[in-house]
């Protein structure tokens, strides 16, 4: 075991290092700021994908509503930025200056109560994590404590996504409706739209993403990680070993929600707006495919999956818009049918296994291979 873990640890570290080099050095050198900003946007989705690896790959619970948490995090950040962008001088043309423009259009004459805390930056940062986590806790507590899981849980999360979308669109005076919150300019007086700001935000995003991966990796290697895997396969056994299975699921789901919320906030900062089109069913399912393409068991694979699918989307929608949906459909079907472990699975079964075979042959030892077989689950 120690051998397997040591090997796996080293292998994981190397891949993380390569990813970090790619994101920190290679991409900024290769790409202009526009494309780099796009990568930054994709990386904010990668938070969701990483969360999905934890909750779906490790926890065995598929959520088709991660967009909800991404959106909530994004909205929490957007509310702060929107308030900052709506100072009385810029909005003097409105009937009520000093409130966000969409409120004015909806005949709201005073800042609603729930908006007041978002004047504070620290509260907003707190809300970015806390609001998605709280909702995730409520949903997962109700579901997991009553043993609702599997397909049924997945469609419940969809229902939540749907309901939240309708609420956001319906309460446009408070949320900006279908338009979302646009025209976000500055963060504490710092113009987030300049190239310099975009570089800084990109690096903040990369740093947080790598931090999140490390955090998740640490959880995976702890006993909690082992338990997650165990309860995915033999739920009853874990329960009858004295563990509250629901607690672990709730924890993982909340973790994924918190990560998604951070991703949403970084999205808002980098793109400059937030809209309900991230909350609905379609984006939520798309985010699952990011993780599925990368490999549902691989944190690093999830990042690559996100980058590749989104880059593909940008490329195809620019060059062959008609083909894009077919390709996307093919991805969904192909990944589930042929490569359930995604890119990471392919990589491990082809490249790593061969390399190991070569190495173990050189060493004349067979133990590594057995260890690797264990490492694939």
């Amino acid at each position: 075991m120690s051998m397997f873990q040591a090997l796996n640890k080293r292998y994981q570290l190397i891949s993380l290092f390569i990813l970090a080099i790619l994101l920190v050095v290679v991409l900024p050198l290769l790409l202009d700021i526009f494309r780099l900003n796009l990568i930054g946007k994709y990386l904010s989705y990668a938070f969701v994908a990483v969360g999905l690896v934890m909750v779906w790959g490790y926890g065995g619970v598929l959520s088709l509503g991660q967009g909800v948490f991404f959106g909530l995090g994004g909205y929490a950040m957007a509310m702060f930025l929107k308030l900052e962008a709506s100072d009385p001088i810029t909005t003097k043309i409105q009937s009520t200056p000093g409130i966000p423009d969409f409120m004015d259009w909806n005949q709201i004459t005073a800042l609603p109560l729930m908006w007041h805390p978002f004047k504070s930056f620290s509260f907003s940062l707190f809300a970015v994590v806390a609001v998605p986590t709280l909702l995730a806790w409520i949903v997962s507590f109700a579901m997991f404590k009553r043993r609702v899981g599997g397909v049924y849980f997945a469609i419940i999360t969809q229902a939540v996504a749907l309901i939240l979308t309708v609420l956001i669109i319906g309460q446009q005076g408070y949320t900006g409706g279908v338009n979302g919150m646009t025209d976000l300019k500055t963060l504490l007086g710092w113009d987030t739209r300049t190239n310099g700001a975009k570089y800084i935000l990109y690096y903040v995003c990369v740093a947080l993403l790598i931090g999140s991966i490390l955090l998740c990796r640490w959880i995976q290697t702890s006993k909690a990680g082992t338990l997650l895997l165990a309860m995915r396969d033999k739920e009853d056994r874990v329960r009858f070993s004295g563990y509250d299975v629901a607690d672990f699921r709730i924890f993982t789901f909340c973790l994924a929600a918190a990560l998604s919320g951070i991703g949403g906030a970084l999205f808002t900062l980098q793109v400059g707006f937030m809209s309900p089109s991230f909350v609905g069913i379609v984006p939520s399912v798309e985010m699952v495919i990011f993780a599925a393409v990368g490999g549902r068991m691989s944190l690093i694979g999830a990042v690559y999956g996100t980058l590749i699918v989104n880059a593909g989307k940008s490329f195809f929608s620019e060059s062959f818009p008609d083909l894009w949906l077919f390709l996307m459909a093919g991805l969904f079907i192909g990944v589930t049918m042929a490569f359930p472990m995604g890119l990471a699975g392919l990589w491990e079964s082809f490249v790593v296994t061969r390399w190991e075979k070569y190495r173990s042959k050189a060493k004349g030892s067979q133990s590594d291979k057995a260890a690797l077989a264990g490492g694939l689950q």
Partner: protein, 439 residues
């Protein structure tokens, strides 16, 4: 287009330039015919607009482009940003086609300032963030001199900060809620007051309507429109609003609404239901026995495009308020319709937004030529006051507030899915995106 080689070419060229404004509707004639035709007319050389460039040679690129736009000696690049996929593809297809038609026609006439227009098409995929991403690409990567695009307010709101930040130029074709005016956007559709006040006055004057029932899809445009409508009815017409209802986008369940209408018995149903809901709404009216023969209904959201889905049967006898209908009988429109059908098939229909989309490239061309430059600042400065006599809807004029002066029209839906125009404002209506007394 290559550089003119001899004086004769130059002369021809200037003739084309000068004649543009007068005879733009001759676009789809065979090139030779057109040339001959224009040569004949060049003697008249009447300028439609003051300040139109008349130089015999075309200006060097570093003069017309001082801000690193994608302009070469032969080419100017513009962007087109609509949804060709997703839920909005249905609506935006018409605008894409009309803008392309206008650009083809302009190119056939020699382009703008001697440069052919090259289009980079981007798909917003009915997704606002994608719109923002593509807008950035068009401005930052491709340095487009102008962008024609967007349809929904949401997509425009998403790209607006990008255009303002990068100092781009957007021509936006849809009738919309107003309450916006940006240096970087020209609005070629009607803003809310142009569409609403005229139709309410018409309903009151011609149909003696005193009580109104307002119905809309639940988002910013219907809500703002109905806000203006309510103020106008209550404060100016001294009428009554007996109901105001909003349904979620895409809702198809209007059974209860029909009963509410029957309970209130309004003189006029005033509707701004859009998209898929539109069809369900009119089918529900028909199924509830509320038909054009018994009930006055005026809508802000049914053009020829929607009619294919709604079905003539369901809309027959109801009224639509727009600035343009395909059945307009002026010469400009006849030529426009003929050219459009020649290019996109004889079954294609042209709605209000399609026509407004068609105006975009022409307005931009006129402004560039007036400014003698592609620079955004100069084009914007030159734009107010620009007139288009060739517009299919008839003469229009660009106001200082970047909206168009245009006429409003009311038309009745016919069982075959066409519109019969029943009323037209006597003169152009001034655009008023921030109406006083309606806030």
């Amino acid at each position: 287009m290559s550089e003119p080689k001899n004086p004769k070419d130059l002369k021809e060229k200037s003739a084309i330039n000068s004649a543009d404004e007068l005879f733009v509707s001759s676009f789809d004639l065979h090139a030779n015919n057109r040339r001959r035709f224009l040569q004949g007319m060049s003697a008249l050389s009447i300028l439609a607009m003051p300040g139109l460039s008349f130089s015999a040679d075309k200006l060097p690129t570093d003069k017309v482009n001082t801000t690193k736009l994608a302009v070469t000696d032969t080419e100017v690049i513009v962007g087109q940003l609509h949804s060709s996929t997703g839920t909005m593809a249905i609506s935006e297809t018409g605008s894409i086609q009309a803008e392309q038609l206008a650009i083809d026609q302009i190119n056939a006439m020699g382009g703008i300032l001697g440069r052919k227009i090259k289009v980079i098409k981007e798909d917003g995929a009915s997704d606002w963030p994608t719109f923002a991403e593509k807008a950035k690409k068009l401005l930052i990567n491709d340095h487009c001199a102008a962008v024609f695009g967007c349809w929904t307010s949401a997509s425009r709101k998403a790209v607006l900060p990008v255009f303002e930040k990068e100092n781009g130029l957007l021509y936006y074709p849809t009738f919309y809620e107003g309450l916006e005016q940006s240096k970087n956007v020209f609005y070629t559709g009607q803003e809310a007051t142009q569409q609403i006040i005229y139709s309410l006055d018409w309903a009151k004057k011609e149909k003696k309507a005193k009580t109104f029932f307002l119905i809309g899809s639940d988002y910013i445009w219907p809500r703002t429109s109905m806000k203006i409508a309510r103020k106008h009815v209550e404060n100016f017409q001294k009428g009554t609003i007996v109901g105001e209802e909003y349904y979620p986008l895409g809702s198809t369940n209007f059974g209860s609404l029909m009963n509410k209408i029957k309970l209130q018995k309004p003189d006029c149903i005033y509707a701004a239901v859009v998209g898929g809901s539109n069809v369900a709404f009119y089918k529900a009216l028909k199924a509830a026995g509320i038909t054009g023969a018994k009930q006055l209904l005026v809508t802000l959201a049914v053009t020829e495009d929607e009619m294919t889905g709604v079905g003539g049967d369901n809309f027959a006898g109801f009224y639509s308020s727009m600035k343009y209908f395909q059945s307009l009988t002026n010469d400009n429109n006849k030529k426009f319709v003929a050219a459009f059908k020649a290019k996109y098939g004889k079954n294609s229909v042209i709605g209000d937004v399609t026509q407004a989309g068609y105006l975009g490239p022409w307005l931009w061309k006129a402004a560039c030529e007036k400014a003698n430059s592609f620079d955004v600042d100069k084009v914007v400065a030159a734009s107010p006051g620009i007139e288009l006599k060739m517009a299919p809807e008839g003469y229009v004029k660009l106001d200082e507030n970047h909206h168009l002066w245009s006429k409003s029209r009311i038309a009745m839906g016919m069982p075959d899915g066409t519109f019969k125009i029943v009323s037209e404002s006597p003169s152009l209506i001034k655009p008023d995106p921030f109406p006083k007394g309606y806030q």
